[in-house]
Amino acid sequence: MITSSLAVIILICGLLLADYRQSRETQVRQQGSALARLLVELPLDELVPSRGRRSVVDALAYGLRDTSLAYAVIVDPAGSPLLDVSKPGMIVSAAAMVAEPSVWLEEVALEFDGQPIMEFRAPIYSEGKVIAYLRLGYLRPTFGVTRDHLPFLGTIALPVFLLTPGFYFLLKREIKPLRKLRMEMEAAIGFDEAQQIEREASDALDGILDAFTRFVERSRRRIADLEEHRGDLITSSKLIGYQRSRIETVIQSLPEAIVVLDEAGVTAFANNKLSSLIGINPAGVVGSRPSEWLVEDDLLAYLGKCETKGNRGYANESVEYSPTNAPEKTVALTAYPLFAPDRNAGGARGTLLVFRDVTLESMAKSARGEFVAHVAHELKSPLNVLRMYSEELLNADDLAEEFRVEAVNVIHDEVDRLSTLISNLLSLTKIEMGSLSIDRQRVKLNELLEDALNTVSRGGLGADLQFRLRSPRVLSPVAVDKDLLRVAINNLLTNAIKYNRPGGEVTLAAEESDEAISIVVKDTGVGIDEGDVDRIFDKFFRSDCESVRKTSGHGLGLALARQIVELHHGTLSVSSVPGEGSEFVIELRKEPGLVKQAI
């Protein structure tokens, strides 16, 4: 502190002295040049009087003895002194004078005995000739601190010296809260806790500090708010993202292909099903019109109708077609207008195109039509026979007796056939619709098999066939629907008889293993063509094979038998050698309930 105040004092003094010297030098120069001009105007004999008389210069030197005038010398052009008035101890050196001076007044810097001298030279003329030179020498003002300066410097240094500590303490007092403030701010940046900044400051800073504290406090609260806000925003944006992905998942998982057209009819969105359903890449269609990616004319005509008629064009109708890229499919396209949530807000905002795979439906539709046609045919064939025979019986009186017998027999058989057909149809339909409840009871299979075989062998058909029943004496009882199983076995036996060779065999056998009971119906008949094996269980399938065509049948027996067996969770399989015979095997698992319990 002392050092700095001293440095300030020294600096101030130095500056003052430099200024003082400068002004002194200017003063000397003015005085010197003015005096020199004045003196050279005087005649030489007044300047250098004859012996015994006092010169003007002497008087002048006397008058100026306290100033810095060092000497006043008048020399002749050769340089020899004519008059020399100088301060005691000052020896004026000789100097060569210029014979033809170019200037009236010249300032020369000299040095005598280590003292810098400012010398003013002026030529003295008489009748146009330089007769002498005046040399006025002044001591050049220096930096040196003389005794004269001390009171002046002291006067300046004292207040500075006295004021410095005052200033220092004042500054320090003012800086202290600022420093504290800085520390507080550093702490505040860390947000340790919302503490009030303590203040020990003057009134001037008090306001600033107060305002600053409030500013910091507000900023802190604002930041906290923003942080909280940011958290909320992140949470809500996550939620939106989650909902978005959920909706997207739903849209992409829809079984339908969805395409959204905007108001201008340009594709805005298409889900991925578009490629799997109609073989069009959904990314490629966005931004283009349907006419650019749909090649089917009837679709474009349908869409055009929606476009031209406005909202009324969107009927609930749809158009069915087979996509060019997937001709095996049948796809229904329906266009729906897209409205804003508030329906009154305006017209349609675009169009939603839904492509639905209706292959199965259309297949089912045609299958249903086929089924009905089959049924009609199968019903009408026996009716045809009935009608013709009954007509003959009615109208012809002169019929042979054997024709009457034949007619009655045929009518009887055809009625049987019709009734079997109808009951098979009903059972099949019930099973397919799931409305047939199966009534499982523990059944002694031996009795059931024996009964079934007896019934068919007595039925008049296959009178020349051998019937065999092979089964172990004891069979585990199984839980089956007795009536339904009987129908299945009966259908298999009927086939075994119908398609047998004359004098052939029909075998009904049962085998039991640990897990299952198999019922085998074997014949020695025509067998089944290899190509037909897979289809014999289809409804209304009848082989084109000649022996089958000759035999009456409606193609439902095996279909029903399989349905019944499958209803019992069993399997019905077939193996056949054409020309040698077929073997149908019903395999029923024993006591499925018990097996389940064991597991």
Binding site: H377, L386, M388, N395, A407, R542, D544
Partner: protein
């Protein structure tokens, strides 16, 4: 005596038709499928053919198409027995000359009267 060819996969129908037509004074040939019917026509062309439409193997329609193809100059009519009086049949039958549809179950009386009408008309033309 007019010769009639009866084609049906149902043996009972063939039998009763043969009996009835023979009693009415026709000469009757029978076939249980299309192939044998074509063979019979080739052997000796009948004066009329009665055939079922729905038959396994060659159907009545196919039989008609083959007859059209093999005997383009035939004069005998074809009586078609069908359980399905479907539009597609009607469209198709336009291509077949001299075809008559009879709906199943067909009455013997109806078949006989159709035949009689046809032959009566034929005789009238001949006169």
């Amino acid at each position: 005596m007019n010769r009639i060819l009866v084609v049906d996969d149902e043996p009972h129908v063939v039998r009763v038709l043969r009996l009835r037509l023979e009693r009415a004074g026709y000469l009757v040939a029978t076939a249980l499928d299309g192939e044998s019917a074509l063979a019979a026509i080739e052997q000796s062309p009948p004066d009329a053919v009665i055939t079922d439409i729905q038959m396994p193997g060659m159907s009545g329609r196919e039989l008609c198409d083959r007859i059209e193809e093999l005997f383009p100059h035939r004069t005998f009519p074809i009586f078609l027995l069908t359980s399905r009086a479907e539009v597609e049949h009607r469209e198709w039958s336009k291509k077949i000359s001299n075809a008559v549809f009879l709906e199943k179950p067909a009455s013997l009386m109806r078949i006989l009267s159709e035949l009689e009408d046809y032959f009566a008309a034929g005789q009238a033309v001949q006169r």
